[in-house]
C-alpha cells in the first residue's frame, strides 16, 4: 500500500499506481469523449491505445520529470495522442476543444488514485495527487503542442496548394502563353508565377508571354517590381512579355506613385495583348465570312 511506504517519493508512487491500475484506467479512459470520437469502430482498440498512454505516463513519472514537455517518455504519447489529435483536428475540432478533451482524462484517474489511500487527506496522499495532476497537465500541453503543429502543417500545405491553383498558365495560341493574375501579388505568389510562366515558355516553346493583371486589385511599387522581374526573367529566356489588363484606375495609381514600369510592354486588355503577339508572329486573324461565300 502506498501510504505505508513513506520513503517513496510522490512521482514513484504515481508511477507504481499507473502500472498497477493500468487496466482500470484504460477501461475508464476508453469511454472518455477523446477516445470515443477517434476509435468509433472498436472499443478494444481504444483500450489498447489508452494502455499505451498510461505506460508512457508511468515512465515519465518514474523519471521524475513531471513538468518537462520535452522529456523522452512523452514520445509514444506524442505519437499516439498526436495522431488522434490530428484526426480530431481534421474533423473540425479546435486545439482548445482537443485540450479540453485531454483535460477530461484527469478526473477518472485522480479519482482512482485517491481511492488507493485509506485517508486521501494526509499530506503524502495529497502530494501524490498533486504529482499526478501535474503529470496530466503536462500531458495536456504535449497533446496541444502536437495538435497545433499539425494545424500549422495543414495551413501551410493549403496555402501552398492555393498558390499553385491560383496561377494557371494558359496556352493562347501557338507560341503564346498567358497568366491571368487574380488577387494580391505578394512575393511568394510572384515567385510561383515566375516559375510556372518560365516553365510554360520552355514547354510551349513560347515567344510571347502575357501577364494579365485585370484581376489584381492594386498595383503598388512592390507589385510593379514583381512584374518587372518576371518580364526580365522571361526575356532572358528569349520570350517577350506583355502586361495587359491595366485598368484606368490602376494606370492612374502607377503614374501618381511615380512607378517606373521601365521598358515593360503594356496593353489595355488581354485581347489587345494577344493581337500584338499574333501580329508580331505574322499571324493575321480575320472574319471567315469576309469576302468568302457562306457555307
Amino acid at each position: 500500500m502506498p501510504e505505508q511506504d513513506v520513503a517513496e517519493s510522490a512521482p514513484q508512487v504515481v508511477s507504481a499506481f499507473l502500472e498497477q491500475r493500468r487496466e482500470q484506467i484504460a477501461q475508464r479512459w476508453a469511454d472518455a469523449p477523446l477516445f470515443r470520437w477517434v476509435f468509433t469502430v472498436s472499443r478494444d482498440e481504444a483500450v489498447e491505445a489508452c494502455k499505451l498512454v498510461v505506460d508512457a505516463l508511468s515512465e515519465v513519472a518514474v523519471s521524475g520529470r513531471l513538468e518537462d514537455v520535452a522529456t523522452a517518455g512523452f514520445a509514444p504519447v506524442r505519437d499516439q495522442l498526436g495522431r488522434m489529435a490530428q484526426t480530431r483536428a481534421r474533423a473540425g475540432s479546435t486545439p482548445a476543444q482537443i485540450a479540453g478533451e485531454v483535460a477530461g482524462l484527469r478526473g477518472p484517474v485522480i479519482e482512482l488514485l485517491r481511492a488507493e489511500f485509506t485517508d486521501p487527506d494526509t499530506p503524502h496522499a495529497q502530494e501524490c495527487v498533486l504529482a499526478l495532476t501535474l503529470l496530466m497537465g503536462t500531458l495536456r500541453l504535449v497533446v496541444m503542442e502536437t495538435a497545433l503543429d499539425a494545424n500549422a502543417d495543414l495551413i501551410e500545405r493549403q496555402r501552398q496548394q492555393l498558390l499553385e491553383v491560383a496561377t494557371p498558365v494558359i496556352k493562347l495560341w501557338e507560341g503564346t502563353v498567358a497568366v491571368p493574375l487574380i488577387g494580391t501579388l505578394d512575393s511568394a505568389r510572384s515567385q510561383i508565377v515566375m516559375e510556372s510562366l518560365l516553365e510554360a515558355i520552355v514547354d510551349q516553346r513560347a515567344r510571347y508571354a502575357i501577364l494579365d493583371i485585370t484581376g489584381v486589385p492594386t498595383v503598388d511599387s512592390l507589385v510593379a517590381q514583381h512584374l518587372m522581374k518576371t518580364v526580365a526573367a522571361a526575356r532572358l529566356m528569349g520570350a517577350e512579355c506583355i502586361v495587359s489588363g491595366i485598368r484606368p484606375a490602376i494606370a492612374q495609381t502607377i503614374v501618381q506613385l511615380g512607378i517606373d514600369l521601365g521598358s515593360v510592354l503594356t496593353r489595355a486588355s488581354l485581347a489587345d495583348a494577344l493581337a500584338y503577339a499574333l501580329s508580331r508572329q505574322g499571324i493575321e486573324v480575320s472574319r471567315a465570312d469576309a469576302g468568302a461565300s457562306a457555307r
Binding site: A75, R78, D79, G82, R83, E145, T146, D149, A150, D153, E156, R157, Q160, Q191, E195
Partner: protein, 149 residues
Amino acid sequence: MMRPSGQAPATSLPIGSDADLAWVRQQVRQYAAQLGFGLVQQTKLVTAASELARNTLVHGGGGQAEITALDDGRSRGLRMRFTDQGPGIRDLELAMTDGYTTGGGLGLGLSGAKRLVHEFHVDTEPGRGTTVTAVAWVTQVPSSRPGAG
C-alpha cells in the same frame, strides 16, 4: 532528425584559386540538394556562394568557406560562411550598393548575394578581414514530413 546522408553536418573548404570556387559551388549544390531545396533555391544558393567565394578570393586574398546544414526543428536550412584575413571593407554601406565595384566585376557581389538568401550578415574590420554569413531555409513544404514531433 534527418541529416544529409553520408555528408558531415559541416564542411570547411579553402578558397585560394579559381578551381576552389568551382569546388565550393559543387559542395553547396550537393548540400542544398540533400537538404531538400528546390531547383530554383539551389540555383540561388550556388550563385550566392559563387559571388561570395569570389569576393573572398579577389578582395580578401583567399580564405575559407564553411558550409553547415541547419535544422531548427521546423525547417531545414543551409549556412554558408566566408572568412578572409584580407584588408576588410572600409565602407560597408557603399560596398553593399548595387554597382559598386573595386574588383572589376559588375558590383553585384555582396548586394546581389544578399537578395538570394534569407539571412545575410557581414562582419568586417579594416585591416583584420571580413566574414560574410548567409543563411537560407527550405521554403517549400516538404512533401513527406515525418509526423510532427
